[in-house]
Symmetry: C2
Subunit: 319 residues, 2 copies
DNA sequence: TTGTAGGCGTTATCAG
DNA sequence: CTGATAACGCCTACAA
């Protein structure tokens, strides 16, 4: 069947230990035997069994990633960077699409623990899942409070929401609405809405926020015929708003101004005219990994509990 | 440290074997001891070590996925479905973003083998990497010939290309160009271009194809002032074409008609007006997994070597 | 510089 | 019905 360390040893006429030494560059080995062994490995097309190795060293070099779906451009891009950085550090990535379902997320969480992952990065929009308390495992949340003492990384949602709302006000909008995704109160992303409400009130305007759902966009327009500004909590919602507006022959940006949130590469290509608040996705990924590695490589817990990264306004033609 | 099977055994006052039996529902156990064991597992918050288990049963329930990037909406959606189906079958997914780089892909391929994955699904646009010949491992390619005898799944690229080109011709375009992605001659995706060329020639038109690259879109317009139809080999390219056209004040669809390829959920939301050839992404994923499982679960190689799934034209407002 | 022995956590085999 | 034992493939003492 599969060629193993022992086979290499036999072929090279040395002991398994020697092969292991060559493999891991440990201890003293004569150049001659080293070459013999290397040749044998080449010859037999040998790959060390990482599973056996993990079992022994009690470390898997596996990181679990739990996000709603790679299909969403924000998560897709975020996961791309996360995987990328992991790879550069010698870690591999176990991917989990929770689809925002609490049951799936719990199952995944258990599965990852069974597989002895060295850490987990999660970002979904579920309410506090208590299972995140139990595992004595390095954890990092992205835009998401997982549990007490689990560090969170997010873009500056509050400032982002403020910038967005303020922009609409500055551009002269009178009736500004907010539509947010399926976010519970426990995610930092909800600060986008909070900021919207604060800014509206500070400007003596009436905040009206909708949560996305079946036919919500139509409802928004039906219920607010005078709407002239919409701050959508992500770019996909913004795109849906734009489409509905077009169908109703509402002129953007003259009669209605729309601003989104995320500013992924994909959005910038497919809908470049959209004004949006761009998240520093790569930096979020870098920070998350850094925080995770800190936990993995040390026992002290002196890491920053909440990291907030700056956002950037990208003005397009929809405002 | 981590609680293991032995700890549970001790706590329950039974042997490790019995615990293992309870865990796997094998052999006869009295209800009483079963309960004792289950309680102990609960008590100690025990999770079986899947690594040790994999080592013994010589199966990891891991599937490797090698694609250029989850950031691209097509791959993002494809990977979403692949992971989803794997999960439903009890398999976990190791994610690899090859970024279309041959060196990365080779490294990943080796890494996956070291990790004893039960199979690999790959779809990137690299030229034949010979390493795909060596591993005696279940493999499936998506839109990509990995090696002799490795099954390939793809959308009907030829028909898709034909439909796209024919549509432009039917709509009265005279100077139709094609822009394709960085595809080598060895991928089925290249049939999109082949079909374009065939249809053009069959209609006594002159086929001109560009391959995407730095400032290619501008070049396309500069070199072909009379262009009135463009078939882009994916939606992102189509989006770039549309943007450039807008900047040049070229009216779409009146002066220029554009059609893309892929029709991902994300594109449909962000750029719903784009006419495109939609790939059956979910079906591609299902077929790929089915072919992989067939290889995993049997030694015979009676599987279909090439599966081609039908595409669908989605007419938007850009044609 | 190299080899031998034991164990990482689990499971299958074979007794009892 | 339950328990002891060996083994999965590798690595680290400890010996030689």
């Amino acid at each position: 069947m599969k060629v193993k360390l022992n086979d290499v040893a036999k072929a090279a006429g040395v002991s398994p230990t020697t092969v292991s030494r060559v493999l891991n560059n440990r201890g003293y080995i004569s150049e001659k035997t080293r070459k013999k062994v290397k040749d044998a490995m080449e010859e037999l097309n040998y790959y060390p069994n990482e599973i056996a190795r993990s079992l022994f060293i009690n470390k898997s070099f596996l990181i679990g990633l739990i996000f709603p779906t790679t299909s969403n451009p924000f998560y897709g891009q975020l996961i791309f960077h996360l995987e990328n950085i992991c790879e550069s550090l010698g870690y591999k990535v176990l991917l989990c699409n929770s689809q925002g379902r609490e049951d799936k997320e719990k199952t995944y969480l258990e599965m990852l623990q069974r597989h002895q992952v060295d850490g987990i990065i999660a970002g979904a929009h579920n309410t506090g899942i208590e299972e995140y308390n139990t595992p004595n495992l390095p954890l990092v949340g992205i835009d998401r409070y997982l549990s007490k003492n689990v560090p969170v990384v997010s873009s500056d949602n509050y400032i982002g929401g403020k910038i967005a709302t303020q922009l609409l006000i500055n551009k002269g909008c009178q009736q500004i609405l907010h539509i947010n995704g399926p976010s519970s109160l426990e995610t930092p992303a909800n600060l986008r809405r909070k900021a919207y409400e604060d800014v509206m009130i500070a400007n003596n305007l009436n905040p009206i926020a909708y949560e996305i759902g079946e036919d919500i966009i139509k409802k928004v327009f039906d219920e607010n015929p005078g709407v002239d500004g919409i701050f959508a909590s992500d770019d996909l919602i913004a795109a849906n708003v734009i489409r509905e507006a077009k169908e109703r022959n509402i002129n953007i940006p003259i009669d209605l101004k729309v601003i989104g949130y995320d500013g992924t590469d994909t959005t910038r290509i497919l809908l470049p005219e959209l004004t949006t608040v761009q998240q520093p996705i790569k930096e979020i990924a870098e920070t998350a990994i850094k925080l995770l590695m800190k936990q993995i490589n040390s026992t002290e817990s002196d890491f920053q509990l909440e990291t907030i990264l700056p956002v950037e306004l990208i003005e397009g033609k929809t405002t």
